[in-house]
Amino acid sequence: MSVLVYTENWDGKFKKLSFELVSYATGIAKMLNTTVTAVSIGRVDEGELSRLGNYGANKIINVNNEQLAVLDSQAYASVISEISGKENASVIVISNNNTGKAIAPRISVRLKAGVGSGVSRLPLNLNPFTVYKRVCSGSAFAHLVIKSDVKILTLAQNSYDLIETPVNATIENLNPVVDGSLLKTVVKNVQKQSGRILLTDADIVVSGGRGMKSPDNWPPLVELATLLGAATACSRPVSDEGWRPHEEHTGQTGKIIAPNLYIAVGISGATQHLAGISSSKYIVAINSDKDAPIFEAAQYGIVGDAMKVLPKLIEAVKEIKK
């Protein structure tokens, strides 16, 4: 038996979520009294691979195959399912991000394994195997029993702390034969934004709503974000109006994020907006209306005009950064 965890890398480095996933898998392995095998697909050097051992991975399977350079969910699912079989995995841990959503359900069908998606805590119970998952877009949580022998859990990003439990990991290189008929996805063109902090990875997010009044009012918000090392986000009407790019839209129909700190400026706090941000550890609201619902979700609030509060806040941040 083992717990298998699928890690993700970017430009040869593991994404932070990979360490969260391994920490989480290690937590489950402790409950099951078993070991953790991590799978990495893509070009990652040995030094980087061994970092997974810091979070408890006993074995690291390093898959290097040029055919897997492009994410093809069918091919990835077949490779991971095969490894899962060899490692006799009883639990498979995958991120609940776009990649995880693409491959987890396919692995589920291949292995006849039930899926608990968007989990944020260790299983509540092993028998029956019960997980804690987000439902109703964050306004409720469910205790979900998974009845199959093999279970797949997709972990919500930023929801599980990194826990260092160093072990000496063994690295095994694998070059699996990929059935060519499974490789159907052809990527014609890639457009990557560079240099910006990814919204879904950010520890701090500064977000603006319709209360910002005009796209011309964004510079102080962006300046505050830069000073805090934060990503920028917005509410739906703001991206619908074209004031900000669509990638920034958070909420029910946009990105779902869980930063340590979410600063909402001129956002009313509609349920559909909260659906995307309610898992943030701390929420700060800046709003001119003291009765705005966002204050019910926030731990800290400032009632005031954003255009007056932001410059003062920026000065105060500069002061403490000195």
């Binding site: 959503k101 968007g118 349920t271």
Partner: protein, 249 residues
């Protein structure tokens, strides 16, 4: 080419969710049911494609796994413009069950493009689309924010971390769509509502499949502590709280 759009029936997104039967089920009293927001956008895009004569799309069918209680949602999809509908007559116990039923239908009736929303707003599973494609052994592309048909071939935009990819994939395949797929959901016009009454809804009995998962209890998130207000003229105090109390900056 024929499109199949999978639709889920969910509580209106502004519903204040309550539970019943000792927190083992969602209290459906007074709930307004709607087409899952993603599926509404996916249907909109499917209809836009059909409207464009160069796309070669012949028809748009919606499919729903659910009981007769979700008829109004199916009629709404027909009123918006779907040509016909299929309802698999069963309680949609879990994602596995639903995906298995839809795959079974696709095996018998040919569809080139199967569209699913990235998640349903009630169970937030994000798994039905991927499962359908694996049951059928056909490709799937996830996080799709645009679909075009160029010279009879699908051209998709797939969202990746910090960017986008233009992707080609042969039919038949499953597109799992998200934000961007259509700008605004299409609204049913009076004529559409009238026409929907006479559009065919095919009823199919489910195949025997055991669900893999079951919700045994619901709970509300722990209430957050009351908001601490800081004076607008004293943002330094906010930073002090963030540094020393919350320890997040």
């Amino acid at each position: 080419m024929k499109i199949l759009v999978c639709i889920s029936n969910v509580p209106d997104t502004t519903t204040k969710i309550k539970f019943a039967e000792g927190n083992t089920s969602i209290d459906t009293a007074g709930i307004q049911w709607v087409i899952n927001p993603w599926d509404e956008l996916s249907l909109t895009r499917a209809l836009e494609l059909k409207d464009d004569v160069t796309s070669g799309i012949k028809s748009v069918t919606v499919i729903h796994v659910g009981t007769a209680a979700s008829e109004p949602t199916i009629r709404k999809a027909l009123a918006i413009g779907a040509d016909d509908a299929i309802r698999v007559n069963a309680i949609s116990s879990d994602a596995w069950f639903v995906a298995a039923q839809i795959a079974e239908v696709v095996k018998k009736e040919q569809f080139e493009l199967i569209m699913c929303g990235i998640e349903s707003s009630d169970y937030n599973g994000s798994i039905v689309g991927g499962m359908i494609s694996e049951f059928l052994g056909i490709p799937s592309v996830s996080a799709v924010s645009d679909i075009k048909i160029e010279n009879g071939q699908p051209v998709l935009i797939r969202e990746i971390d910090g960017g986008k990819e233009v992707v080609n994939v042969p039919v038949p395949f499953v597109a799992i769509v998200q934000k961007g797929i259509a700008k605004e959901p299409r609204i049913a016009a009076m004529r559409g509502i009238m026409m929907a009454r006479s559009k065919p809804v095919k009823l199919i009995e489910p195949v025997a499949v055991d669900p893999m998962t079951q919700v045994v209890e619901f709970e509300k998130p722990a209430p957050r502590a009351a908001c601490k207000f800081v004076d607008a003229d004293n943002p330094a105090q906010l930073l002090d709280l963030l540094q020393n109390e919350a320890k997040v900056i």
